[in-house]
Symmetry: C2
Subunit: 304 residues, 2 copies
C-alpha cells in the first residue's frame, strides 16, 4: 500500500523582484512548493486556507498532479500575500509587505482520511498550530517540522515543546543560528539535536545542506546552477523532495541512509525552483528531468 | 626526483579578534599559512620580505619543516602588520588597520635555485609583481595565482593579463563575484574560465569550494568543524594543501582528477587552521592527523 504525505502550510500569492526580473502575485506558499515537488514521487494531501481571490488554475495545477485538496478551505477575504525582493547575491529575501489576510485565522482541521497519513510535514506555521496538527494524526511513520525566525522570536517555548516530540526538523541556516545562538551550522546542528530531534537538516540555500544525526554529519553543496533567477520557495521545495523520496520507500525506516537520499532528492528538486520565478520552472519538470539532474548532482559532488 | 613548490607572498604579523578571543601580533601572512600546510606534503621554497622585528622563532617554525627560506629577505623597518576582527558568523574579516611596512616596497627576486621550481604559487600580491615572478621561473609544471579585492579594483588590466598566462587561479567567492560581476560562484567560475585559466577554484570559506574546468564542476562543503575560533589564513592554507598534494605526485598531469584531490587536501588542511588562532593549530598537526581528517571529510560528504 502506498504511503501518503500530509503537508500543512501556507497557500499564497507572492510578488517578487530579483536582479533578473519581477512578478506580481505569482503562486507561492510553503504548501504549494512542497506539494508540487513531493507529488513527483508520492501522493500528497494538503491542509491550508485560501481567500476568495484564489484562482481555479492554481487549484488545478495541484489537482492535475494528483494532490488531494479536500483539506483546503476557502475563507472570506483575500489569500495570504507576500511581497519582497532579493539583491546582490540573493542569499536573503527582504520583505516589503506581508498581508496575512485569511491566513491570520488559519486553524488547521484534518479531514478524517488525512488523519491516517503516514508522512506528515508541518511547514513553517505557528508552533502551537503545528502541535495541534500533530495531535490530530494517528500513528504516522515520520513527522518533521520547519519553522521561521518569527516563531523563534515570539513562540520559542512552544517551538521547543514541539521539537521534543519530533524525529526530525528542517530549518534554514539563519533560523538554526537564531534558535541556538551558535555561529555556524555545524555547532547549531549539534545543539538542536540536544533539543529532542534524532535528525536535523539545516538548509543552506546555494550552499546546500547539513544533515546531522546519530551517525554524524552528511553535507553537500547545492546543485551547481549558474542562472539562479529567484530563490523563493527553494527551501520548501527541498522539503517536498525530501518527503517525496521517503514516502516512496516501500519499507520506510528512520535511518541515516534514507535521510541522506532524502536530502539529495530535496537538493535536486530545489535546483529547478531557483531557475524560474515562483513555481514556473518546478511545475514543468518531469521525473526524467529529475533523474537527469540527480546524475548531474552526483557528477558534480562525488569524491574522486 | 622530488618536485619543489615556490610560494611568493606575504610574511606578516596579525592582530585578530573573534567572538572566541583575541591575539596580538601572531604569525600570519599568505606565504606562512601556505608553507606550513604545503610542507606537510612537499618541499617548499619561500620568497618574501620581513622587517627587523621578525622573530627568529617564526623563521625556525618553517625551517624545522624543511622550508627553504633563502629567498626571504630582511629589510629595514617593520614587518607587514594586519589588524582585524570577525563578528557573528565570522564569514568576513573586517580590517581595522593595515600597516604594509616593508611589504610596501616588496620586489620579489628569485634565487637561482628557485627559478627551476616545478610548482609555483603566486599568492595575493600585486599582479604586476606576480607577472614579474612568472617571468623569472623556467618551465614550471604548474602555476596558479590568488588575488584580492584591492587588485581587482585598482589593477584589473594587469590581473587579466596574468590570468591569460595561467593554467589555474584560486580566489575566494567575493573576489570571484567582484571580478566578474556575477551573483553566484557558479556563474562567476564560468566567466573566469573565459578569461584564460583552464581551471578555477572558488574558495567559499565554511561552505567549501567550487572547482570548475573542462569537465564541469566539482564542489564540496568545508570539513564540518563546530568550534571555529579564527578563520584567518584558511584560504591560504587551502592553497598550501592544494599545492602540497599536486607537488607530491610523481607524474603530475594537469587534469581534473588531480585537481579534485588537490581541493580535498586543501579543504582538509584548512579545517585545522580555523580551529586555532593564527597558525597555532595548523603548525601542530602531523600527517596522521591529516589522514584521519581526510577520512572524516569523506564520511561526511560521500554520496550514499
Amino acid at each position: 500500500m502506498k504511503n501518503h504525505i500530509l503537508v500543512v502550510g501556507s497557500l499564497a500569492y507572492d510578488s517578487i523582484q530579483t536582479p533578473f526580473g519581477k512578478v506580481e502575485k505569482t503562486l507561492g506558499g510553503s504548501a504549494n512548493y512542497f506539494s508540487v515537488a513531493a507529488s513527483l514521487l508520492s501522493p500528497v494531501r494538503v491542509v491550508g486556507v485560501v481567500g476568495e481571490d484564489y484562482n481555479q488554475t492554481d487549484i488545478d495545477l495541484l489537482a492535475k498532479r494528483g494532490v488531494d485538496l479536500s483539506g483546503m478551505t476557502k475563507a472570506h477575504g483575500k489569500t495570504f500575500h507576500w511581497s519582497g525582493f532579493y539583491e546582490g547575491d540573493m542569499n536573503e529575501a527582504k520583505t516589503l509587505k506581508t498581508d496575512l489576510n485569511v491566513f491570520e485565522s488559519f486553524n488547521p482541521v484534518l479531514p478524517t482520511l488525512y488523519q491516517n497519513s503516514e508522512f506528515v510535514f508541518l511547514a513553517n506555521i505557528d508552533p502551537d498550530l503545528q502541535i495541534k496538527v500533530l495531535e490530530q494524526v494517528k500513528n504516522p511513520k515520520f513527522v518533521a517540522s520547519d519553522t521561521m525566525n518569527l516563531w523563534i522570536n515570539i513562540k520559542k517555548p512552544s517551538l521547543l515543546n514541539l521539537l521534543k516530540k519530533l524525529p526530525a526538523v528542517l530549518l534554514n541556516e539563519g533560523e538554526a543560528k537564531l534558535l541556538t545562538g551558535c555561529s555556524n551550522a555545524i555547532s547549531a546542528s549539534k545543539e538542536i539535536l540536544k533539543m529532542g530531534p534524532k535528525y536535523v537538516v539545516v538548509k543552506r540555500g546555494e550552499y546546500g545542506f547539513v544533515l546531522a544525526g546519530p551517525d554524524g554529519f552528511f553535507m553537500l553543496p547545492a546543485v551547481p546552477i549558474a542562472d539562479v533567477v529567484d530563490p523563493t520557495g527553494a527551501g520548501d521545495t527541498f522539503a517536498g523532495g525530501f518527503y517525496g523520496y521517503l514516502s516512496s520507500l516501500t519499507n520506510f525506516e528512520l535511518n541515516t541512509i534514507n535521510l541522506k537520499w532524502a536530502c539529495i532528492y530535496g537538493s535536486v528538486l530545489a535546483s529547478f525552483t531557483v531557475e524560474g520565478f515562483g513555481l514556473t520552472k518546478l511545475s514543468q519538470i518531469t521525473k526524467d528531468d529529475m533523474i537527469q539532474r540527480l546524475r548531474f548532482f552526483e557528477q558534480s559532488t562525488k569524491h574522486p
